[in-house]
Structure formats: structure tokens, C-alpha cells
Amino acid sequence: MTQKPSHRVDPHLVIEKYDPEAELMLMHFGPQHPSTHGVFRMDLFLDGEIIVKAVPHCGYLHRAVEKLCEKLAYVQITPIVDKNDYVAPMTNEQSLVMIFEAMLKLEVPRRARWIRTIFAELQRIASHLLWLGTFSLDLGGALGGGTTVFMYCFRERELILDLFEEVTGARFHYNTHTIGGNRHDLPKGWSQKVLAAMDTIAQRIPEYEAMTTQNRIFQQRTRGVGVLDGELALELGITGPILRASGIDHDLRRDAPFHAYDEVKVNVKTAEGGDCLARAEVRVEEMKESVRLVREMVGAVPEGPINSGKPVKLPVQTKIPVGQTYVGIETPRGELGGWLVADGTQFPYRLKIRPPSLHAVSALPYLLPGQTVSDAIAILGSLDPIMGEVDR
């Protein structure tokens, strides 16, 4: 138990032992506060304005997805998991169908893998844009109301949603991935539109940098705030940009390639600071990298079929043999995976979804003590939690 380094914050601090003289104030933060990115609540014990202990409460959006999956046939689950991480539904679907494909030992056609890769990278840009906009809104007054960056980011995000809408017919909640491939092929002339959108975004990312990560006010608000130690991040199971901002060079796109990532070179961006600024910088750099990947790949999508699964007439025709497996992929927020227990029927016996956001939020009791209340909002925002995924 004492293996924990001594400098680590004790998340289970007993308040009576803190300082009997100090008059602590209990402040409820959330669950309807707009900067909680949905519905998330924390009980903050304050000594003056300094947080002594933070007790997060989640479950305000617990929609019983895992129970629902147990009573649905395998092919019916894809639209359900769309709603878990509603900022990046594409990667949600991909992670789910990849578990089923691994269990069925299905080979996905090369064209489908390339399309999935392009979708995942476009989704990463859209997700990070939304994060940058809302994070600037969280920091609020320091950025002249913060609404400017929010408006700009949403303008560019709509470009990507339009591209997805053209392929799948939906702005989000696409339901475009099936077991063994994709449902929708790329329409004619789509790649030109993608390239045009990428040109616009590539041109505007430096503008965002000037407004955020290179802005002196933004830097003062975020530098040295919420420093997350890399070793603690690994223990907590934190993945994705947050882990990379703590100096750990780990990205499943490069380290355990899925889709078509083994055919392209992914440059992994890391930062050493581990603070809110480092997390922002990593995400902006990742957007640039995703733009590069999409530009490189969209013109070179190989020809061929997009689905190798046998067409099914009834949902209950897809059965998965007895077994258990875990498959995880890199989404904009980190490693999203699922532990599937199959019992040979057409329904999953148990499907545990491994959400990156839940692990990210579990860092809050370690990050918040010693910070002020205004920094708490910056720290929570920089973790980029999506409550649908935390609570499921």
C-alpha cells in the first residue's frame, strides 16, 4: 500500500485529520454547471479558495448501456454505442465492431480498413475542434469571453460533419460500420471535398494557435496548472492526449496498429509539461498530424469490396462462438475498448466497455488538491471528459 510515492496526493484524505482549526467549506460543483461538460458533480472541500479534497460523483448520465447490450443481438448494438462518446461516434462504432470481428476471425477488406482510418482521423479533428472551442469557453473571460474561439471551431467542425453526412446521411450517430466492413461506400467526388476542407482547416489551425496556445493570457491560465505525473497517469489507466502530454510516448495507432495504420507512418506528438497547456498543445499538434494523414490517404484509397461479412436477413443470424476477448483502439480521447464474454448465442453474455474518459476523470482527486476553484474548471476542461462515456 505504501508503494505510492510520498509526494502523491491522498485522494481519500480524512477531513477530520486535515487541520481541526481550519474552517473548511463544502462546495457542490455541478451536475448542471455548463463547464462540467455535461452532468458531472464534485464535492470540493475548500480552505479559503484552495481545494483540500475533491470527491467526484458520476452516474448522472448512467444509461445502462451494458445491460441494454445484453438483450440486443450483435448487429443491433452498433447504433447504441454511438451514443456513448457522442463527440466521436465513428471511433465508438469501430471499437465495437472490431471486437466482434476479432471473435469471428473475420478479415476486413483493405478498402474498408482505409475508409475506417480516414473516418477515424476526420473524427479526431472534429472532436479536438469541439474540445478547443469548449475549453476556451471554460476559460471564459481571459479570452475576451472565449466565444470567439468557440464560434470559429464550430465553423470548421461543420465542414467535417458535412463530409460525414454525405457518406452516411447523418450528422452524427452514423451507424456506418458493420461486422466485417462498412455499410456506405465513398461517394464520387468525395475526396476532392475532403481535400478542400483539409486546406481550410490547415490554414486555420495556426489562427487557433495564435488565439490559444500562443496567447499569453491563455498560457498564464494553463501553465503549471494540474500537473499530472506520467507514472500516475499509467497507473490510473489514462490514455490518449492526456498521457502523451505527461511525457509518455504511447499511441496505439503506432504501437499496436489497427485499421490501415500499419501502412502509413503516424508521428506521435508528446509534451513534457503534464499541465493543461501541454494537453492543449498535444491536441492542436494532433489535429495537424490528422490533417496530414487524411491528405495523404484520401487520394490513395485502394479499390475493392468494402465488406467481407455475409449478408444477414435477420439480426439473430449472427452468432459468436464461446470465448472472451479484449480489443482496444485509439480514439480522440484515448484507448476505447471492450471486454466481450460470448456464450455461443446471438446475444453478448457480458460486454464491458472500457471508456477513456472514466479513467481521465478518476485523476481529478489527485489533480485538484492545492489548486484554486477557477483552476478546477481549467483542469476538468483539459481532461476532455465526455459524460456519456464516463457513465455509459
Binding site: M1, E158, G237, G323
Partner: protein
Amino acid sequence: MAVNEEPKAALATASRTHTSDDAGHFQHPLYQVTLQTPGLSVGTAVFDDLMTWGLKNALWMFPMATSCCGIEFMAGAASRVDMDRMGVIIRATPRHADVMVVAGTITTKMAPRVLKLWEQMPEPKWCIAMGSCAISGDFYRNLYSVVPGIDTFLPVDVYVPGCPPNPEALMAGMIKLQEKISLQRTGKFVTPEVKPELLKITNPSVPRLNDPARRPEQNHEQELSADSPTVDEATAPLEVAAEGPAPELSPLTSPDFEGLLKELGIAELPKDGPPIIPLEQHLALARKLKSLGYRQLVTIAATHWLAGKGRKGADEAEPEHFEIAYALRTVGMGSRVAAWAVRVKAGQPVLTLSGIFAGADWQEREQYDLLGVTFAGHPDLRRLMLTENYVGHPLRREFPADAHWAPWR
């Protein structure tokens, strides 16, 4: 007399166009005075119209945005759709707002808060249900934690269907609400009423942080007294290891997971799932793996097997049990996952992994909450997702998927 009757008749017709009341029905001295004073009711009618115009063109919105629809709500407020031009300002406090937009699924844990926020809004106020979850609960409607439609406890004025509705659809809903407000002033529309018996949904649980019953040491004592020999045996090495030096972490080693398993007497990996480790070896294995480079906690997943069922299929001799699977990952190039499982009877505790991997804290709380698996030595074993006063563990197989017993049914 004829001179006097004429303006009276004109006033009566004028008042009828603006109120639904019959002149004789409503008895108030001041009302009679307004009817008898020439020109006054025309003035109030004009004032009424002015009020209506002001109300419907300055709808300040309170976003009760819980999930996916909240993102489309934000897109509606952002640059392309821009609801600002309809006089819609988003105010994140109920005390400044006219319209509550419920965008997203409302769970039983959240519903009392929504109701409280609704009560904090000043009159006149309106409510928009955005998206299928807010309207009916959508495909979550029968599940144990979701409210099947917010109109069970809120008076909804406008429903905006879709999953999620486009921002344009939300805008159409706003226009509908504006039309409705003008009708409300002329008396052609009546505010929807809530069924009072539906208001009594689940009581919010008050967090009692300093409740002595929740002290971790007491939890541990309770579990120790649960009469399980495995805990007593395994607790001792845990304490010894705590005093020793921390294991050296060597990144990117090439660990031999199968070799480790052979030491434990497992010759080959089973094909139908992760290898099952004896309970007393569990912590030692985790510690060894961590020192071999499996530094990242991936997940902890418990499965409930009913009596007569198991991972190999139906077997009558199989008692009811839980299987708890753990997965760890190496960091960096060629990342690999190592997974193992432990098997416990119902009610038998497992030693916590939270001393080795800090992230196991919340993962184990979640499994305890949803499946009722207990973890001995856990520093803070509380429910994570459901309310503290919730009865039962919903991910157990015998728990009904359709919650017909729910209080609002």
C-alpha cells in the same frame, strides 16, 4: 341610453377577442371597472400584445444539456445556425431564463435536479423536450436508470423529435414555441399540466461524506468478518510487501507472460478466455507483471455466471460464481495486453488491486456497484454510478432488463 350602450358593446367584443373569459363569468371589481371605462381595455389589449411580442422575441434559454442533443444544441448556438438572431440568449442559470431546453437523456439520478432547476425559474416559463430521449426515453426507456420521457414530471410545451434533432429542427421548435406564446396570450392555449402523482420520483440521495459507516477501515473489518479464509491468508503478504522497496520499473522489457503462468502451474493459455489464477496468487501476479513492463491498467471486468452456467457452457454441477478479469498493457512500441481472471463465489471478496494500480480504485467501485462483487482492502468502496440508496446490482443476470417495478410505472 343608446349613446351609452354602443361603446359598451364595442368594449365587450374587444375584450372577447383578447380573453377567453365570458364577461359575466369573471367577477372582480377591478375587472368591471376596466370594462366600464371607455378606452382602457383597448389600452390593456395593446399592452398585452406588446408584452407578447417582447416575450416571444427575447426567449432566454437555460440549457439542460445532458448528452448528445446538447452538442447539437451547441451547434445551434454556434456560427452556422446562430439562434441568437431569434433573440435567443443562452443563460446558464435558471433564474435568468424563460425556456428550459432539456436536451438529452434524463436519468433517475438527474431527474430530481432537473425538477429543482425548473422550480427555480421565474414565471412565465416554457419547456422544450429536445430529442427522443427527453421525449420518451428512446431505447433506454425500459431500463433501470432512465426516466421514460420528461413529461412524466415536467410540463412540456414543445417536442422536437430526432436522435439527435438537427440544429435547424431545434430552430423550428423555437418558432413553434413563439407561435404558442402568442396563442397563450389570446387565451387559445392553456399551459400543460403535470400529473401530480408522477412528481414523486426517486428521492435524491444526500451525500453523507463523513458518515462513519462509510469509513474504509470499517468496510475492511466487515469484509474480514465475512468468514472467508482467503482474505486472512493473503492479507499478510500484502502488508509485508508494503514495507519493502517499490519494484523497479523497466520499460519496454520483453515480458514472458506465459512463463509467469507456468510458474503458477498453468501450462497453456485456455482458448475460451483468460487463464484463471488462484485467488492467493492474484496480487503477486499483478505486481510481477508491473515490474515486467505492464505498467498501464486497462480494465477490470466482472462477469456473473448463474448456477448451471460457466464459460465452457452449461454444466449442472457449476454453482453461481463471478469471474473478474483484469487486463494490463505495456507502454510504447509493440504494445501488448496481458489478461487474467480470478473466480469467486457470490459474496466472497477479492483483494483489491488499488494498492498497485491507482486506477483500480474506480474500476472496482464500478464493478461493486453494478455487480455486487466486493473488494477487500479497498480504501473507499462506494457505489459509483447509481444512487447510494439503490437496491440491487443491475448487471447481475437475474436482474430484470425491463424495470417494470420502477416508481413512475
